[in-house]
């Protein structure tokens, strides 16, 4: 009754091809963007910004990257943690080698470095598919954790093997380092994510996105109608790694502040991002956000309920949390393989007719 397309006429293909063709969707989107930029940083307290909003933004960036590769192009990757480590260490080396460089460039360049590395590790995808490719990308995960542990040059020969982000400012406002205000960190991360999401949307709605999806759905047919599989797969790996690298750089510089590679970028991070896009929805940009939101919020929520309200022991809560997340993944795989994004689409289809059955 309220959510409908009736009366929303399109008179040009440009209008018909916009991201949110339904007026109500468009309004909702801009409202959320306005809230995120103008209201959230001034309303939400520091604990919530640090514990919920910042990790959500960082993981959403990573999930977006992996979704381009796995959800859109159909190439499974278990190397996300390793590629995030590449982004983080690239950012660290850039920050220490060029102290004058603006943090925005540092983060984007870290993404570019990771894109190059991702391209290299994407080469096996031209020969192998599915499980075998997943194992090949797993090699990237273990290789980079090993590399950043073994070669002291990467962590500037620090005794602990840790890397620590120096303080950097934008327009004179601190965004990295321990004394940066959570709201400033939040706005910095949000701006980058907003830009990347826009790029992702543009890529997926045009020629490149269609060639990725064609490779995903039927690679032989894609090749026969003129998609160059080499170009499509490698570009997916490069773009995806760029996003993941930026996520890694943000994770380290803005969120963690200091990191140790085995702990911060282990295999569990690869799986976490993969779970996010499976639960959120493969091949959906909205799904990347929903999945990241769920997997970041759920542990916080469960912890609050079990420890603070029910007063259970912390270790029981921690174990139950793992079980609940695991159960949820199995539930989604069985009942809604297209994830939260698909639930949202179905809800919208129902809403269009509501309250009438036909």
């Amino acid at each position: 009754m309220f959510y409908r397309e009736a009366g929303d006429f399109k008179t040009s293909y440009r209008e018909d091809m916009q991201t949110f063709p339904i007026r109500l969707d468009r309004r909702a989107y801009w409202t959320i963007v306005a809230l995120a930029f103008l209201v959230a940083p001034f309303v939400v307290n520091d604990y919530w910004t640090n514990a919920v909003l910042l990790p959500f933004l960082v993981w959403a960036t990573a999930a977006l990257g992996l979704n381009l590769l796995t959800g859109y192009c159909g190439q499974v990757s278990l190397g996300t943690g390793g590629f995030m480590a590449v982004g983080a260490f690239a950012a660290y080396k850039l920050m220490t080698a060029f102290p004058g460089m603006n943090i925005v460039f540092v983060v984007l360049l870290a993404g570019v470095v990771t894109a190059g590395v991702g391209l290299l590790f994407g080469l096996p995808s031209l020969r192998i598919k599915g499980f075998y490719l997943a194992v090949a990308t797993l090699a990237a995960q273990f290789f980079f954790v090993w590399l950043f542990n073994k070669v002291p040059w990467f962590y500037n020969y620090s005794a602990s093997g840790q890397i620590t982000a120096p303080e950097r400012t934008i327009f004179g406002i601190l965004v990295t380092g321990p004394s940066a205000a959570p709201a400033a960190k939040y706005l910095f991360t949000l701006t980058i994510l907003f830009g990347l999401a826009w790029l992702a949307r543009n890529l997926t709605r045009g020629k490149t996105g269609r060639s990725w999806m064609a490779i995903r759905d039927m690679d032989i047919a894609a090749e026969i109608i003129g998609v160059d599989p080499l170009k499509a797969k490698l570009s997916a790996f490069a773009v995806s790694s760029f996003f993941v690298g930026v996520a890694g750089a943000l994770f380290f510089t803005v969120y963690l502040g200091s990191a140790e590679v085995t702990e911060a970028f282990g295999i569990d991070k690869s799986f976490l991002v993969l779970f996010m896009i499976i639960i959120g929805g493969l091949g959906s940009i909205l799904g990347s956000f929903l999945g990241a939101a769920l997997l970041v919020l759920l542990p916080v929520f469960l912890k609050n309920v079990m420890v603070d309200i029910l007063h259970w022991e912390t270790y029981i809560a921690a174990h139950l949390e793992l079980m609940i997340v695991g159960g949820l993944i199995i539930f989604f795989l069985i009942y809604e393989p297209h994830g939260l994004a698909q639930l949202w689409r179905l809800a919208k289809e129902k809403l269009r007719l509501w309250p009438f059955p036909y």
Binding site: L203, R210, G226
Partner: protein, 283 residues
């Protein structure tokens, strides 16, 4: 008159190469020629020393019993298989060994025996993907949705809408192809192949598994495509009625060999062809 024109019962083309069919369509010079193609898989020889040509504007059928090597022949033309011996000449030039996507860029499109649509995409996106060989924008332009990227997208959308109108699938534009019935999926696949504006269109059993009404629709679309766009069509089909009605010339294959080649009426009365299809009595 060339000898071929005489056997076709039509007048010679004004251009001198080719002829005019009884229903008034112009058959032009040779577009693609396969010469002495032999294709082996290990010890099995799928195609043995086959040669034939395809002329501009004609509907060329390839028929033969199951396992005769018809689909393999199509796969050779579309660059999916590389024959051990023989040459392919396209538009007067010998074609070097090519990958399928390079063949597509030369202007050869095809459909598949088993539908090979992109299941996760809408009908519109499937057909838009068919135009990939005509799109020129770079990835950077697309990422920023700036300049050529948007202009191109709009122009190609308009062209795709014309194909959608032509094949009468306006109502399913936004539907994911996996939700469509079989007959419509076949039609969408034809639309996707047409979207590339091919010079040569290869159809691998476009009417397999269809009922009479759907076959009639599909036949009409094939004739319309040939008539309105002047597209040269190679057709593999088992329904003899359809083949005899649609095609200008027919190649008959059996056990990887060519056993007949000519206009439908001539092929129909060829004793070798009858033997392959019906068997012969040994008395």
């Amino acid at each position: 008159m060339t000898s071929e024109a005489i056997t076709h019962g039509g007048a010679m083309n004004p251009e001198g190469d080719g002829w005019v069919t009884p229903d008034g369509r112009h058959i032009g010079p040779v577009v693609l020629e396969v010469k002495n193609i032999t294709l082996r898989f290990g010890g099995v020889t799928a195609i043995k020393d086959i040669s034939f040509d395809i002329r501009e504007g004609e509907i060329r059928a390839i028929i033969g019993p199951n396992g005769a090597g018809k689909s393999s022949m199509l796969n050779v033309i579309s660059g999916f298989y590389h024959p051990q011996e023989g040459e392919i000449w396209f538009r007067g030039q010998k074609r070097p060994p090519m990958k399928p996507f390079q063949v597509a860029r030369q202007g050869i499109a095809r459909t598949f025996q088993n539908i090979a649509l992109f299941k996760g995409m809408s009908v519109l996106d499937n057909i838009m993907t068919g135009r990939i060989t005509l799109m020129r924008s770079t990835m950077a332009e697309e990422a920023l949705w700036w300049g050529r990227a948007e202009r191109e997208e709009l122009a190609h959308r308009e062209a795709v809408e014309k194909i959608i109108d032509f094949l009468e699938i306006q109502h399913i534009r936004r539907t994911p192809v996996s939700r469509l019935p079989y007959g419509l999926q076949k039609r969408v696949e034809l639309a996707r192949a047409l979207a590339a504006e091919p010079k040569l269109l290869l159809l691998d059993e476009p009417m397999a598994g269809m009922n009479v009404e759907e076959k009639e629709d599909m036949s009409r679309f094939i004739l319309d495509v040939n008539d309105e766009f002047g597209t040269t069509i190679v057709l593999i089909e088992h329904d003899m009625g359809v083949v005899m009605d649609l095609s200008d010339r027919v190649v008959v294959m059996d056990y990887g060999k060519k056993i007949g080649d000519g206009p439908p009426d001539e092929v129909r009365n060829d004793p070798q062809v009858i033997a392959a299809y019906l068997g012969v009595s040994h008395e």
